[in-house]
């Protein structure tokens, strides 16, 4: 009767242990902590009461067991010390699970020896208990008389027990490691129920470790992605720096040609004036100098235009009328180049925006098309409404823009024209996007033509 009560007490404690282990494992994704909880659970006094517990992980590529962690005393002297120290701390099982990995008991000989062990599986006979456990995925109880089967490094640390249990660690349905426990120092026979509990705890361990490894893997991937992201950011910054340099280069090219030329001319003619009394020549030179100064001024204005776009004065205006004005203004260009200009704008189609600025936008777009359309070609301007926007499209059947250039056309000072400055489309972008909160889109196909679409928000939706 008394024996039965003791057995019931043991069972109760084992259930409590299992419950506490499960509860702790559910709360953590830290691999070290999980291992610590498992090993502590296996060795905690009063329940399963194994003397020592060790866990090794299977490395597929190297076909070996390594990265071992162990808990427990190395020999009987240390066993006495550890158990005494543990008694003094007065830690509960929960405390031991939560904080046990922060305290080091005894001389740590056993854990250190376990840590160093590497078991090369191809050097161990196939019918050896270790290979049997890993291959068949079942528990193996090694009796004293079979100890000679142990690889020497294991025998050295597990020499004292009368029974040593080898249990497979399953992670995601694959044998991923080996748990070893023994009954050294107290030599109590290991009960079948204890082995069942051991198996249950190891199943919990496998589940928890599976989650933890998956979490680690995800975290690693995330870190890698963050690293990649960082690199990408750096590359982008570098590229935008490069682009700025290219823009500065273009700007200096612009200055060289558009500013240096008139300056050199002015200087030359001025020097001629200084060296002559010929009034006719002086008059002619002054006229040329005046022309060049005016040219310089116009270029400067053009540059200023780019850096300073006035605040828009918005009103509703008829796009049809503006297009007509432009048609008249540019008629000579169309005629001399043999290009047809067509309008497809409803007479009552209105845009809410700055008429003067948007006229400049349309002018720049038509003017651009003029340079790319061949004799006999056409340029069309269309007006229509689309999802809260008033849109104007300038289309042509010119040579089109290459994919490579399409990315650059809005960059200031980018031009493919021999006489162009490269500011037209930059000004278009600023006027449409910055001052009208609109959109500029370009669709182009080499050899077929280009369409530039301007979308300005409708009145009340800007």
């Amino acid at each position: 009767m008394v024996k039965k009560e003791i057995e019931l007490d043991d069972l109760n404690y084992q259930l409590y242990l299992l419950h506490t282990i499960c509860k702790t494992l559910q709360r953590t994704l830290d691999v070290d902590k999980i291992i610590h909880v498992i090993l502590t659970g296996l060795t905690a006094g009063g329940a399963l009461s194994f003397s020592r517990a060790a866990i090794f992980f299977f490395e597929k590529e190297e076909n070996c067991l390594k990265n071992g962690t162990g808990i427990g005393p190395y020999d009987s002297t240390e066993a006495g010390e550890i158990w005494a120290e543990l008694g003094k701390t007065g830690m509960s099982l929960e405390d031991l699970f939560e904080n046990g990995h922060r305290i080091q008991l005894g001389k740590q000989i056993f854990p250190q020896k376990i840590k160093k062990i590497i078991l090369k599986l191809d050097q161990i006979p196939q019918n050896n208990p270790i290979n049997i456990v890993l291959k068949e995925g079942r528990v193996y109880i090694l009796k004293s008389e079979e100890k000679h089967l142990l690889p020497s490094e294991l025998l050295e640390v597990f020499q004292y027990g009368s029974e040593i249990i080898f249990a497979p660690l399953f992670i995601k349905e694959e044998v991923s490691g080996l748990v070893i426990v023994d009954n050294a120092f107290h030599y109590r026979q290991i009960e079948k129920t204890t082995i069942d509990f051991l198996s249950l705890i190891i199943i919990q361990a496998g589940l928890a470790l599976g989650n933890a490894f998956a979490y680690q893997e995800t975290k690693k991937n995330l870190e890698k992605m963050e690293e990649l992201n960082e690199t990408l950011k750096k590359i982008q910054e570098e590229m935008s720096k490069q682009e700025q340099l290219v823009a500065i280069g273009r700007f200096s090219t612009y200055l060289a040609h558009e500013i240096r030329n008139p300056l050199v001319t002015i200087a030359g003619f001025t020097k001629q004036i200084l060296g002559t009394n010929d009034l006719a020549k002086i008059y002619r030179n002054c006229t040329i100098i005046n022309d060049e100064v005016e040219r310089l001024e116009a270029r400067l204005k053009n540059l200023m235009r780019f850096s300073f776009i006035p605040k828009p004065q918005k009103e509703e205006f008829l796009v049809y009328q503006v297009a007509n004005e432009l048609k008249q203004l540019m008629e000579i260009s169309f005629q001399t180049r043999g290009i047809t200009f067509e309008q497809e704008i409803p007479e009552d189609f209105k845009i809410y925006g700055d008429k003067v600025l948007l006229r400049e936008v349309f002018f720049n777009l038509i003017n651009n098309s003029l340079d790319f359309v061949e004799k006999g070609g056409w340029i069309k301007i269309k007006g229509f409404e689309e999802q809260g926007y008033c849109c104007v499209e300038v289309c042509d059947n010119g040579c089109g823009i290459s994919k490579e250039n399409l990315e650059k056309i809005f960059t200031p000072f980018f031009t493919t024209k021999s006489q162009g400055v490269g500011l037209g489309l930059s000004v278009v972008k600023i006027i449409v996007e910055k001052t009208h909160n609109g959109k500029v889109e370009v669709f182009s196909e080499l050899g077929k033509g280009t369409t530039v679409k301007i979308s300005i928000p409708k009145k009340g939706e800007e």
Binding site: H257, V264, A267, G268, F269, I288
Partner: protein
């Protein structure tokens, strides 16, 4: 006999300026406003030296230079341009001198003299 210079330059005022200045030095100066016209003059006249701008409509300076070198390999050419940028790879072009335009026209005159061996 007077040496002849061909000045290929798209800006009219600069054509006037440089031709007058070179004529003052005793040269006969022909002018062309682009590369195509310049090449035609080289074919028709006995030219001793070319002063060539780079950025021009129709045929730019570089294309013109390659054509000149194809036709008359030994004809001295001075590239005379507002761009300092191209100087770094100018050596590969085969022109004799690369000169950046400045208010000091004497630089041009000196280079012309040097190339004509005077």
């Amino acid at each position: 006999m007077k040496k002849t210079i061909l000045l290929i330059e798209d800006e009219e005022n600069q054509r006037i300026l440089y031709s007058e200045e070179l004529e003052k030095e005793g040269y006969t100066v022909f002018t062309a406003s682009d590369g195509l016209k310049g090449l035609k003059i080289i074919e028709e006249k006995q030219i001793d030296l070319v002063v060539l701008d780079i950025r021009m409509p129709e045929m730019d300076g570089l294309e013109t230079l390659s054509k000149i070198l194809g036709e008359r390999k030994n004809l001295p050419v001075i590239i005379y341009t507002a761009y300092p940028h191209y100087k770094t790879n100018f050596m590969s072009w085969g022109a004799d001198i690369y000169l950046v335009k400045s208010s000091n026209i004497n630089e041009l005159k000196e280079k012309v003299k040097e190339l004509l061996g005077e």
